[in-house]
Symmetry: C2
Subunit: 351 residues, 2 copies
């Protein structure tokens, strides 16, 4: 008899964090591809590049000379999308043309002086230094009274729009709370008010019981493919402890975060034996809005585009832009593939 | 004195159709680019290709032989993301894992037998035939009782995930109303209930008065860059008459639609003298949901990714995925560029 089966039949799944839906078409992974083939990431980059404006000692676009830095560094983006001195203003013509000024601060974080080392290829203590720098940056941005939200993120790989290959992340801090955060606040608050615990604590408990979407875990963090994943190998890192933001992590938890970051990104690189592109970033509570946000549970999203190989990605285009996101392989299949991969980086395996 | 200026200062704008916001950074278009450079579209494709599974007389993936067709044709997608015979089912575990089965029908529309002719390069009467085929398809899909929404769209160009270069569009018809349509229904309904006219009639009136975001117009349709455009050269075609769906257009309006399609897509190709990639699709009212949807106003969206040239596109990545869409050039600048371009296709100019 033909009964509904999540692994075989088209269906939609609910993203409990945003309240949005994704269309899953498990049967569709075999369609032929005469479309775009990406060039794979360069196998080996030099450790220093003369005309890279992020390498130590080089001159940036605005004329600043980078210090001869040895660990991660942060500085204000020379081409910030948001500026701290934007004058206040509001436009509203009959509720048809509506706009408001937006102040903010944009920062760049070079993960290390090395032009050739992405997160999975860095040593654990060096990744821990990146976690510490995120902490310092978050602390000082949260101290700026007009800043309501601080988005820490990384675009990795040129197919994710990274405008300079030197491994780096960014922070965009803004006067208003961005839409994605508004959605996650609403959903988490509803759950917290009804159940008295965080939505992600309950969700994590269920995932740890079922196991099939778990990728990796340590004492403090779990990496999994969420039930509602949109991107083929999308993942989330969730802290086991319900904390609202990064500043609440203990030193042991910061070590744990560095470790799970290394493990997840190494598995990513090993999947297609390429420097795996993604956009990733953490979500945490808004600051300076007069609320304590007990509902918020810190987590990190990874949105990687590759689908079939190092050169064929998933496109979020026509139907996805006009109607509804859509995916082919199931989240359970993706998690299984990632789970079974080694935790040693393929470039170092057999050395 | 420093007063807020939409053309100079970072700000957010409201999309009145969805209720969502976009971050505009007008000052940011001069940042250096050491990122991805796309390969430009092939200048000239052959008119027939032996291993193209969409060319006349060729064999498709499922073994079907295409007829020796001479005008546009439609057939069911061999790799449909949605299927008509999906068994009904619902999953809900403590409101944490939530899914529902989804029935639907996916169709492919080849615009013409010619492998080398995209919409702007087709003759007006041939584009009119595509409009007529959309009409026929819409009519027959709307007659299927379980179909609630019919999404007609096109992914043009390999950087928009088009999996076969033979010019074609698609239709995905589904059992549930997709999220983007839910949002537009809600916004249009609120406006209609408050003002007794369609949101887009009021909006169009304002844009026609201001002129600065208008690209092109004829007796029946207007093409403009919406005030809240996310993609650099995003556009909308809006019908002057408030109709709910395509089937209501008169023969003269169908001619008008063909004409504005040719004009807008020709200007797009002329902008960077390349076959301009985009995802485009029409939005109209849901069917078979027991409502008459007086609030709905037919329109078509164009989401093109190119930003600076035929080879440098805008990436909707990190910040955009995690927080909020962002754009650099202003909608007014984009509209001005498109408005001043010739209506003769660059390949035919000076011939
Ligand atoms: O249907 P196609 O052309 O094979 O596929 C293309 O359009 C679909 C609908 O927008 C997308 O889901 C795919 O990612 C894209 O590659
Ligand atoms: O800031 P970058 O690296 O120059 O630019 C990149 O990240 C930004 C933030 O996600 C995006 O707006 C840009 O489209 C992308 O190219």
């Amino acid at each position: 008899e033909n009964t509904f089966d999540l692994t075989a039949h088209p269906h939609t799944r609910l993203n409990i964090l945003t309240g949005e839906w994704v269309l899953v078409s498990p049967h569709r992974s075999k369609r032929p591809w005469q479309g775009k083939v990406e060039s794979p990431a360069l196998v080996q980059r030099p450790s220093y590049v003369e005309d890279c404006y992020l390498c130590p000692g080089n001159t940036r676009a605005d004329g600043t000379k980078n210090p001869a830095y040895t660990g991660p560094i942060a500085f204000t983006n020379d081409f910030s999308a948001l500026l701290a001195d934007t004058p206040k203003g509001v436009v509203s013509e009959d509720d048809l043309l509506v706009a408001r000024s937006q102040k903010g601060i944009c920062r760049v974080i070079c993960f290390s002086p090395r032009h050739d080392l992405t997160l999975p290829e860095m040593e654990l203590p060096d990744i821990r230094k990146v976690v510490d720098l995120w902490h310092t940056e978050l602390e000082s941005l949260a101290a700026v009274p007009f800043i309501k939200y601080i988005q820490i993120f990384e675009n990795k790989g040129e197919i994710m729009g990274c405008s300079n290959p030197h491994p780096h992340g960014q922070i965009w801090a803004s006067e208003d709370v961005p839409m994605e955060i508004e959605k996650e606040t609403r959903q988490q608050r509803n759950y917290y008010q009804q159940h008295g615990r965080s939505l992600l604590s309950a969700y994590l408990e269920k995932e740890l019981k079922q196991e099939e979407r778990i990728i990796a875990q340590n004492e403090h963090f779990v990496a999994l493919v969420p039930f509602w994943a949109v991107w083929p190998y999308e993942a989330m890192i969730i802290s086991r402890r319900h904390v609202q933001h990064l500043l609440q992590f203990t030193p042991a938890e910061r070590d744990g975060l560095a470790a799970i970051l290394k493990e997840l990104t190494t598995k990513y690189d090993n999947l297609f034996e390429t420097s795996f592109p993604y956009s990733a970033g953490m979500h945490q509570m808004p600051f300076n809005d007069g609320e304590s946000h007990p509902e918020w549970h810190w987590h990190m999203h990874f949105y990687p585009p590759l689908l079939r190989s190092a050169t064929v990605k998933k496109f979020m285009v026509g139907y996805e832009m006009l109607a509804h996101p859509q995916r082919d392989i199931t989240p359970e299949y993706a998690a299984g593939r990632l789970r079974e991969l080694p935790v040693v980086h393929y470039k170092k395996a057999g050395v």
